[in-house]
């Protein structure tokens, strides 16, 4: 309420008619005060009363009313205090000299006093401005969020501008304080970093901003922009730390999972292998049990390897380390590794065309080929044939693994790479190759991250299934997901 009252008083003081009227009233009042002294003292002494009145007018009401006051003073002095009274005539010609001196000195006093007064007002204004900027800077330096900034600005600017103060996403590009509609001022915060944010002042009364107000608001806006930038940077840093922390956690989780699964498996498979070496000392039926154990442990090993790889892929933890490789050497390394697993099966290779180097993650592509060959091994008779074929095609290389097993059941080709994802209740393959769904899902993840395509169908000629994938020669970049 006090604010509103003060505002009304301010507006009244600013009205020119009021100020001039008040100036005349002051001069009239001075005349009435001096009237009882008429005749008791020399009229020249009474000029000082008018002089004082003009100085007061200049001090309080400004230069123009003081000039009006000076003129009115001389007139009233002439009218009331120089004989003949109540007439603008003068008996004594010297009075005209008095009028002249009185007018000149009053005007001089008016000019000097009002200058002094406006400089005082200016200094006062500057003091409040400095105070405000200091308060704004202090409030913003402790702000830790955007809403803190908004609250601080609102608290400090609202009373000064009689406005509701808000931060908003504005039209970037506006460079200065602009009046949007009748009552709203928009102050751009400036700088690309704050994304074209603006400060909005919804004012209680219409009117444009003065130069001083513009300057002040622009300074406040620059401070706010700095604060917002600092907050944005701090938030980004906090997010990065949180990401790093969760990445580290995933890492720790995966490697302890890996350790906890692989340690007992190592002992299990090693112990079974040691048992198998004692075949001469073990009864025949015990050896049959050992053979069964060996098969199941091998299955468990494959499954665990796939499970861990899948966990790493789905944690987004596995990144592609691309280097130029020839698919020939990757396939060669795979065949080398699977040499013992294939048993009596024939593993043939066919190459057509010139196989160029392709940017790929060699270890992961080896894993894909190994999983596909392993899958073929699981689905062929012990004396079956598996063919690994590499073909140069337009813009890509195709790798196919063909077997002469029973082939895919109708409909399998569509879902075989998705078994892990569709979650039909069992992760194991109905043909007995545990965890192959997982292995194939891994293959798909790896190939798609390389920008290739993987599919499965039955061989057009004869029997058996054909799994094949392509790798583009350009090499797409990607992260496993």
């Amino acid at each position: 309420m006090r604010v509103v009252k003060a505002a009304k008083k301010d507006a009244l003081l600013r009205s020119a008619a009021f100020r001039h009227g008040a100036a005349v009233a002051v001069v009239v009042a001075a005349s009435l005060l001096a009237l009882p002294l008429r005749g008791l003292t020399d009229p020249d002494n009474l000029t000082m009363v008018y002089f004082t009145a003009v100085v007061m007018i200049a001090l309080k009401l400004g230069l123009a009313p003081a000039i009006v006051g000076s003129v009115v003073s001389v007139a009233l002095f002439n009218f009331l205090f120089t004989p003949p009274y109540y007439s603008f005539e003068a008996i004594n010609p010297a009075s005209y000299l008095t009028f002249g001196i009185m007018l000149v000195s009053s005007l001089l006093a008016a000019v000097l006093t009002s200058g002094l007064s406006s400089r005082l007002a200016e200094a006062d204004q500057q003091k409040t401005e400095t105070r405000l900027l200091l308060d704004v800077a202090r409030a913003l330096s402790s702000a830790v969020s955007r809403s803190d900034v908004e609250a601080g600005l609102s608290r400090l600017l609202s009373p000064r501008y009689q406005a509701r103060v808000t931060l908003a996403a504005g039209t970037a590009g506006a460079a200065a304080v602009t009046r949007l509609s009748g009552l709203v001022w928009q102050v751009p915060l400036g700088g690309e970093e704050v994304g074209g944010d603006v400060l909005l002042l919804e004012r209680g009364e219409p009117g444009d901003a003065s130069d001083a107000a513009r300057l002040e608001l622009e300074t406040v806006a620059a401070l706010a922009a700095q604060a917002l930038l600092r907050i944005a940077n701090a938030e980004a840093a906090a997010r990065a730390t949180a990401n790093q922390e969760s990445e580290r956690l995933r890492n720790v989780l995966l490697s302890s999972l890996s350790h906890d699964l692989r340690t007992p498996l190592t002992v299990l498979s090693g112990t079974v292998a040691n048992l198998a070496r004692m075949r001469k000392r073990l009864p025949r039926d015990a050896m049959e049990e050992v053979a069964q154990l060996t098969r199941q442990v091998t299955r468990l090993q494959t499954f665990t390897g796939n499970l861990l790889k899948m966990a790493a892929i789905s944690a987004g933890h596995l990144r592609l380390h691309r280097e130029p490789y020839s698919l020939l050497e990757i396939a060669g390394a795979t065949l080398q590794r699977l040499g013992e697993v294939k048993g009596e099966r024939r593993l043939l290779t066919q190459v057509s065309g010139d196989i160029p180097m392709i940017d790929m993650d060699g270890a992961l592509i080896e894993q894909v080929i190994a999983n596909l060959i392993d899958n073929a091994i699981q689905h062929t008779e012990p004396e079956g044939t598996i063919i690994l074929e590499l073909q140069r095609q337009e813009g890509q290389v195709r790798v196919s693994i063909r077997d002469d097993g029973p082939g895919l059941a109708p409909g399998d080709d569509a879902v075989i790479f998705e078994r892990f994802k569709t979650g039909d209740g069992s992760l194991s393959d109905r043909k007995g190759g545990g965890g192959h769904g997982l292995g194939l899902a891994i293959c798909r993840g790896i190939i798609e991250a390389h920008g290739g395509i993987i599919d499965a169908r039955n061989n057009p000629e004869g029997r058996g299934a054909c799994f094949s994938f392509t790798l583009p020669l350009g090499g797409a970049s990607g992260r496993l997901s």
Binding site: S255, S258, H259, R262, T263, P264, L265, T266, V267, L268, S269, G270, T271, A273, N274, R277, Q301, G305, L308, K309, A312, H321, R322, E323, P324, Y325, S326, L328, E329, I330, A331, G332, A333, L335, Q336, T349, V351, M357, D359, D361, G362, A363, L364, I365, E366, L390
Partner: protein, 225 residues
């Protein structure tokens, strides 16, 4: 004598029994500290080091060993992920195995490591011969089944680097350093192209290699012989 530094009691016991069955003498340690002590006191011929030790990270133990000893070190890791293996190899490990591994694999790696240790002691070989491929280091002459093979200086350096460490995996970085004297930043493209040329000249089919084996994501291994 083989020193096994491994914190899991059952794995330690398994390695011990498997290696003893193959005729090796085995001592063991359950952490890095006692492992280093055993290394000083007993002077084993080969160290098998688990990278996941409880007291000190296996990599730190490896670094401590390499500060003063050239003993062959085979690292065991439960993590797959080629970067771990490359890091261990470049920190001075001679070979690596990922758990679960078979006793047969371990035995092969130990044999290679022992042979390298023996060769490092002797004063170099003037002629290296592997499967009909022969390199006369003094004459800088390469022959395959008696036929001379012409290699560029880089290809010759590449081949001899691999053959001197035959049986042992060399990372791309190690080969770069040995042949060019520095690491490369070009994704080892140059190395691969030279390697392809060497393979072609040796008539080595990458699909079923006779001499040079690719270890995807890690490097190359030359046939042990």
């Amino acid at each position: 004598m083989i020193l096994v530094i491994e914190d899991e009691r059952d794995v330690r016991r398994l390695i011990q029994r498997s290696l003893e069955a193959l005729g090796h003498e085995v001592i063991d340690a359950e952490n890095g500290k006692t492992g280093l002590e055993a290394l000083v006191r007993q002077k084993p011929d080969v160290v098998i080091l688990d990278l996941g030790l409880p007291d000190r990270d296996g990599m730190a133990v490896l670094a401590a060993i390499r500060e003063w000893s050239e003993v062959p070190v085979i690292v065991l890791s439960a993590r797959d992920g080629e970067s771990d293996k490359v890091a261990a190899l470049e920190a001075g490990a001679d070979d690596y195995l990922t758990k679960p591994f078979s006793a047969a694999e371990l035995s092969v790696r130990i044999k290679v490591a022992l042979r390298h240790a023996a060769r490092a002691v002797s004063t170099g070989e003037p002629v290296i011969t592997v499967e009909g491929l022969s390199v006369d280091l003094a004459a800088r002459r390469v022959t395959l089944e008696g036929q001379e093979i012409h290699l560029t200086p880089i290809e010759y350096k590449l081949l001899t680097a691999l053959m001197r460490h035959r049986g042992k995996v060399l990372t791309h970085g190690q080969i770069m350093k040995e042949v060019w004297g520095r690491h490369s930043n070009d994704g080892n493209q140059g190395l691969r192209i030279h390697m392809q040329h060497v393979r072609e000249k040796l008539g080595d089919d990458p699909l079923s290699p006779r001499f040079i084996f690719t270890e995807p994501g890690i490097g190359y291994r030359f046939r042990m012989g």
